[in-house]
C-alpha cells in the first residue's frame, strides 16, 4: 500500500508516493537522498537519525514519513546557510573536536541546536542530561559537551 506525502524539507516543498510503512528516516535517505540523516539503531535509542520537525528534535527512525505530512523538516544538510557558512553549532563542533567518525554527529548537532530554545546558559550537567537521547561511541562526550556549550553561547 502506498500513500502520497508532502512536506517541506530544508526549505523546499517535497512530495512523493511511498509505501505506508516508510519511516521518515528512510524517506529522507532513500527518496530524497539526504543521506546525512543516519540510522544507527532503528529503535529510537541512538539518536543518529535526529532531525528537526517544526523546530523540535525528533528521531526520524521512530516515526512514519506520513506522520510528517505538512511538516517543516530540517536535516543536517539544511543547517548551514545558503552560502555554505556553517551554523554556530557546526562551527563549535569543529572547533572543539566534538566529532570523530561523524556518524552520530548530524543527530547530535540537531539535538544541540534544539537546546537553544530550551536552556539558557546550561551547566555541564544540564547539557549531559539534555544529550541523553544521543549516543556517541567515539568521543566519550567530553568534547561534545564543550562544543554544545560554545555553540549555544555563539547562537546568542
Amino acid at each position: 500500500m502506498s500513500t502520497r506525502i508532502s512536506m517541506t524539507v530544508n526549505g523546499k516543498a517535497v512530495s512523493a508516493e511511498v509505501e505506508e510503512r516508510t519511516l521518515l528516516a528512510a524517506f529522507l535517505r532513500e527518496h530524497l537522498r539526504l543521506t546525512g540523516t543516519h540510522v544507527g539503531c532503528d529503535t529510537g535509542h541512538c539518536g543518529a537519525c535526529t532531525v528537526l520537525l517544526d523546530g523540535k528534535a525528533v528521531k526520524s527512525c521512530n516515526m512514519l514519513a506520513a506522520q510528517a505530512q505538512g511538516a517543516n523538516v530540517t536535516t543536517i544538510e539544511g543547517l548551514a546557510a545558503a552560502d555554505g557558512e556553517m551554523h554556530p553549532m557546526q562551527v563549535a563542533f569543529k572547533a572543539s573536536h566534538g566529532l570523530q567518525c561523524g556518524f552520530c554527529t548530524p543527530g547530535m548537532v540537531l539535538s544541540a541546536v534544539e537546546l537553544a530554545g530550551k536552556l539558557k546558559n546550561p551547566s555541564e550537567a544540564q547539557i549531559r542530561e539534555a544529550l541523553d537521547g544521543n549516543y556517541c561511541r567515539c568521543t566519550g562526550y567530553h568534547n561534545i559537551v564543550k562544543a554544545v556549550q560554545t555553540g549555544l553561547a555563539n547562537m546568542g
Partner: protein, 786 residues
C-alpha cells in the same frame, strides 16, 4: 612549530563534510540497478537444519534470488582465521570451518542461514519471512566455564571437548619456584566481562560485479580493506585479487569490530556475480548485537608473589577465553599473543607464567575489541597490584614505584622488549594533576554527605603497532604487519597522500596531512589524504592496534624521504650545484650557505615539465611509495587515577574525577590525541560500570540484544576528564610516536574497580565484578555486612 605542523592543534579537514551531511558511508552508496539483501538468521543457539523450503520466498514480489548453504557448497569456502596458534603440545589449534551460509547446522543465535536478494529492502525482508526452516534444536553450550566439562555438546565435531587450544607463555618452573619462597601471595579470581563493540554505524556492504571486465567492487564498513580483499579473494572466493576492489569509504566507528572479514561481505560479493546486480546490505542494530564480533570474556585466576617489602617476585595467570562459535579473523591471537605478553605491565616482575585455554561456545564469535587482550592483561596486573598493596599496607603509588621498570631497553619475561619509557614521570604528573594531596579532604566532604569515596590507580602499558612481520609470522600471524604509503606530488606542487591506514574517526586526513605539510613546508590545504580504497592505495594493512601513525605514518615519512632525495637532485640541476650541497628546509631547496634556492613547487613543476631537467640521470615525475615494517612494537604507558563516590543506600557509583596521564611519545595533533583518550576512557568506564553482554545460559539467547538491555554510556554517565601527557619518544620509528587509540580503554577499567574496592574497603570488600552495577555494589556491601 607552525600553526598546522607537527604538534599543532589543527581543526580537522574531514569535519566539514561530516557536519554538513556530506559524508559518504557504505549505506549512503547507491549504485545503478541497486538491489537489497536480507539475511535470514538462526533463532537457535545450536540446531541441525533438516530442511529449508524457500519456494514461497523465491516466488515473492521483487525477489531475485534466495541462496542457502546448499547453493554455495563447494563454491564458496569458509572464512579463514588469520592467526595460527600452536598449543602446548605443539599441535595447531583446532580450526573448524566457518561457513558463509550455514552448512547443515547453526551454532549461535544470528548465524546466517539464507540470503534473500530483492528489488527493495522491504521485499527482501518480507520474503525472508516466507522461508521455512525445519530445525532440530540441540542442547547448547553457552558458558566458557562449562565448555569442556564431560557431557557438554560439541560446537564442532573436530573439537569434541570444545577446546581450540591450550597455550602457555613464560617460565613455569621459575614462576613456581618464586611462588614457593614468596613472603606474600595475592590471589584474585575474576571475569573480564564480555562486551559488544557497538560502533554507531552498523556494518554494511554493497557488492557489485562488472561483466565488462569481470571485476568486483565491494563497498564495506571496514577498517582494513586490503586485508579484507586478500582474505576474501585468496581464501573464500578464489578470485584473483586484481579483479576485486574493496572500498571502505567513511566508516562510522570500528573499535576492532570492523577489522574482520564477515560472512555477509563474502556472500554479497559472490551473489553479485550470480545476479549481475549490485547488492546492498546494512545490519540493523539487533543484527549488530547478534553478529558483530564481541570482545573480552575471559575468566581468570591470577596470583602475584611478593617479598616482604612489596617487590614483585612472580605472577601466575590461568585464563579461560571464550572464542564463541567460530574463529573470527584474529580471534586466536587476542587471548594469547596480545594478552599474555602484556602481563609484565610497567613492572620488573622477574617470572611470569600464563596459561590460556580457549574454548568454543554457542555464542557469537569473540575477537579484537578496542585494546584486544591488553585491557584483559592490564586488568589482571592492576587489580593484583592494588590488592597486594592493600594487603601489605603499602601506598598505591609507592608499590608501583617500587616495582617500575626504570632501565631501558627492558626485556620482559613474556617476550616483549620495551624500548623506552619513564613511568615515574608519568606517576608524578598523574599524582599532581589528580590532586591526590587533596584527597583526604575530599573524602571527608563525601563522608559528610553520607556517601563513600574511593580512589583507584591503574598504571598500564600497551604494545602498539604489532610488529615486525617476521616475528609476528613466527608467532603464527598469517599476514604481514607493515604499512604502505605513497606521496604523489602534482605538477603544481600540491600533494595527494595514499595511505594503507584507515580512518574511521581517528582523523588521519588531518594528522597525516600535518606530517606531510610539515615535512614538505607546504600549506596543509595543499595536502589531501586518500585511504580506504584498494583501487587507489597501493597496499595496506589498515587500522587497528593503535598502529596508524607509528606504522602508517612511518611509511609516509619513508616516501617523503624519497621525494626529498629526488627533489634535491632536481634542485641541484636547476641551481647548477652538486647534489651534496643542496639542503631542503622550509619548503625550499637551497645551496647550503647561500640564498640561492628553488621552492618545492618549482621542483615539482620541473619534474613534470622536464624541459630543464637531468633526463640522462633522472626519471621525470615526483611520485614515491614506501613500505615500512617496524622493528619492534611501540610501548605507550600511562597512569590513570579515578575517584568515585558511592551511595551505600543504592549502590550507585558516580565518577567524580578521572585523571589520565599518558606517554604516547611525540604527538602530531594534541587535540586528536585527547579525543582518542576521551573515547577510550568512555569505553573502559563503560566496561567497568555499565556494559555486559549476557546470554541465557540454557537457551543461548542473547539477552542484551538491544540498547534497552545493553547499557552503553550516555553523556550523563560520564564525567569530564583531566588529560595529561609526558613524552619519551619511541626510539625506533622516524616520528618517535607510539599510538594512542586504545590506551583509555586499556587503562581505565582497573582504575574504576580499584576505586570502588577502595571505597568499600571499610566493609572488607575485596572485589566487585565488572560491570559494577548499583545492584552488584549494593550486594557487595550487604554480603560484607552479613
Amino acid at each position: 612549530m607552525s600553526a598546522t605542523g607537527i604538534g599543532a592543534r589543527v581543526e580537522r579537514k574531514e569535519d566539514r563534510r561530516f557536519l554538513t551531511g556530506a559524508g559518504q558511508y557504505t549505506d549512503d552508496v547507491l549504485l545503478p540497478g541497486q538491489t537489497y539483501a536480507y539475511f535470514l538468521r538462526s533463532p537457535h543457539a545450536h540446531a541441525k537444519i533438516k530442511t529449508i523450503n524457500s519456494a514461497a520466498a523465491k516466488a515473492a514480489p521483487g525477489v531475485l534470488a534466495v541462496f542457502t548453504g546448499e547453493d554455495i557448497a563447494g563454491k564458496v569456502n569458509g572464512l579463514p582465521c588469520g592467526w595460527l596458534i600452536t598449543d602446548v603440545n605443539g599441535q595447531p589449534m583446532k580450526e573448524p570451518p566457518h561457513p558463509v551460509l550455514a552448512q547443515g547446522k547453526v551454532r549461535h543465535v544470528g548465524d546466517q542461514v539464507a540470503l534473500v536478494v530483492a528489488e527493495t529492502y522491504f521485499q527482501a525482508r518480507d520474503a525472508a519471512e516466507l522461508i521455512e526452516v525445519d530445525y532440530e534444536v540441540l542442547p547448547a553450550v553457552v558458558k566458557a566455564s562449562d565448555a569442556d566439562k564431560p557431557g557438554q555438546p560439541a560446537v564442532h565435531d573436530i573439537a569434541p571437548d570444545n577446546v581450540s587450544y591450550v597455550w602457555a607463555l613464560g617460565d613455569k618452573a621459575g614462576t613456581d619456584a618464586a611462588f614457593a619462597k614468596a613472603a606474600h601471595v595475592t590471589r584474585l579470581d575474576f571475569h573480564n566481562n564480555r562486551l559488544i563493540p557497538n560502533a554507531i554505524e552498523p556494518r554494511a556492504a554493497n557488492a557489485s560485479y562488472n561483466r565488462a571486465d569481470e571485476s568486483y567492487t565491494l563497498y564495506v564498513a571496514n577498517q582494513n580493506p586490503h586485508v579484507e580483499r586478500l582474505l576474501m579473494t585468496a581464501f573464500v572466493l578464489g578470485l584473483p585479487e586484481h579483479k576485486v576492489r574493496v572500498i571502505a569509504p567513511d566508516v562510522g566507528g570500528g573499535f576492532g569490530s570492523k577489522i574482520f572479514l564477515y560472512a555477509e561481505d563474502a556472500a554479497l560479493t559472490w551473489a553479485s556475480r550470480q545476479l549481475c546486480r549490485p547488492i546492498k546490505w546494512t545490519a540493523d542494530r539487533t543484527e549488530a548485537f547478534l553478529t558483530d564480533a564481541h570482545g573480552r570474556d575471559h575468566t581468570t585466576t591470577a596470583e602475584l608473589a611478593l617479598d616482604q617489602d612489596g617487590h614483585f617476585l612472580a605472577m601466575r595467570v590461568k585464563t579461560r577465553a571464550n572464542l564463541g562459535a567460530y574463529l573470527s579473523t584474529f580471534a586466536s591471537s587476542v587471548p594469547t599473543i596480545l594478552y599474555a605478553t602484556l602481563l609484565a605491565g610497567q613492572y620488573k616482575t622477574p617470572f611470569i607464567h600464563c596459561e590460556v585455554t580457549s574454548v568454543f561456545t554457542n555464542t557469537a564469535p569473540v575477537d579484537a575489541y578496542r585494546g584486544a587482550g591488553r585491557p584483559e592483561a592490564t586488568y589482571v596486573v592492576e587489580r593484583l597490584v592494588s590488592t597486594a598493596a592493600r594487603e601489605l599496607g603499602i601506598d598505591q603509588a609507592e608499590i608501583r614505584r617500587r616495582n617500575f621498570v626504570t632501565q631501558f631497553p627492558y626485556q620482559t619475561p613474556v617476550a616483549l622488549m620495551y624500548d623506552t619509557g619513564d613511568y615515574n614521570a608519568i606517576m608524578n604528573k598523574a599524582l599532581q594533576m589528580a590532586d591526590v594531596a587533596g584527597y583526604a579532604q575530599r573524602k571527608t566532604a563525601t563522608q559528610a554527605k553520607g556517601l563513600l569515596r574511593g580512589i583507584g590507580y591503574s598504571s598500564y602499558i600497551e604494545a602498539c603497532g604489532l610488529a615486525p612481520s617476521n616475528i609476528a609470522g613466527a608467532l603464527g600471524a598469517r599476514a604481514g604487519l607493515f604499512e604502505a604509503g605513497e606521496i604523489r606530488v602534482h605538477p603544481t606542487g600540491s600533494v595527494t597522500v595514499f595511505t594503507g591506514s584507515h580512518s574511521h574517526g581517528q582523523g588521519h586526513e588531518t594528522s597525516f596531512a600535518q606530517v606531510v605539510s610539515d615535512r614538505l613546508g607546504i600549506p596543509i590545504e595543499n595536502v589531501d589524504v586518500v585511504h580506504g580504497d584498494t583501487g587507489r592505495v597501493p597496499f595496506g594493512m589498515g587500522t587497528y592496534g593503535s598502529r596508524s601513525l607509528s606504522v602508517g605514518g612511518s611509511a609516509i615519512i619513508k616516501a617523503l624521504d624519497k621525494i626529498i632525495a629526488k627533489g634535491k637532485k632536481i634542485a641541484a640541476h636547476l641551481l647548477e650545484a652538486s647534489d651534496a650541497d643542496i639542503v631542503f628546509k622550509n619548503g625550499a631547496f637551497s645551496i647550503e650557505g647561500t640564498d640561492k634556492n628553488v621552492p618545492f613547487g618549482g621542483v615539482a613543476f620541473a619534474a613534470y615539465v622536464p624541459h630543464n631537467y637531468p633526463l640522462d640521470k633522472l626519471e621525470p615525475g615526483l611520485n614515491e611509495n614506501a613500505f615500512y615494517d617496524p622493528t619492534n612494537f611501540t610501548f605507550p604507558a600511562g597512569t590513570y587515577i579515578c575517584e568515585i563516590e558511592i551511595d551505600p543506600q543504592t549502590g550507585q557509583t558516580r565518577i567524580d574525577r578521572f585523571t589520565a596521564v599518558d606517554d604516547f611519545g611525540n604527538i602530531v595533533n594534541p587535540m586528536l590525541v585527547e579525543g582518542q583518550v576521551h573515547g577510550g576512557l568512555a569505553q573502559g568506564i563503560g566496561q567497568a560500570l555499565l556494559e555486559e553482554c549476557r546470554y541465557d545460559p540454557e537457551s543461548g539467547q542473547l539477552l542484551s540484544a538491544s540498547y534497552s538491555d545493553y547499557a552503553m554510556p550516555r553523556a550523563d554517565d560520564l564525567p569530564s576528564f583531566q588529560i595529561g601527557t609526558t613524552c619519551t619518544p619511541c626510539t625506533h620509528n622516524p616520528l618517535g610516536v607510539k599510538g594512542c587509540g586504545e590506551a583509555g580503554a586499556i587503562g581505565s577499567p582497573p582504575a574504576v574497580i580499584n576505586a570502588i574496592v577502595d571505597a568499600l574497603a571499610a566493609y572488607g570488600v575485596r572485589d566487585v565484578p565488572m560491570p559494577a552495577t548499583p545492584q552488584r555494589v549494593w550486594q557487595a556491601i550487604q554480603n560484607a555486612k552479613a
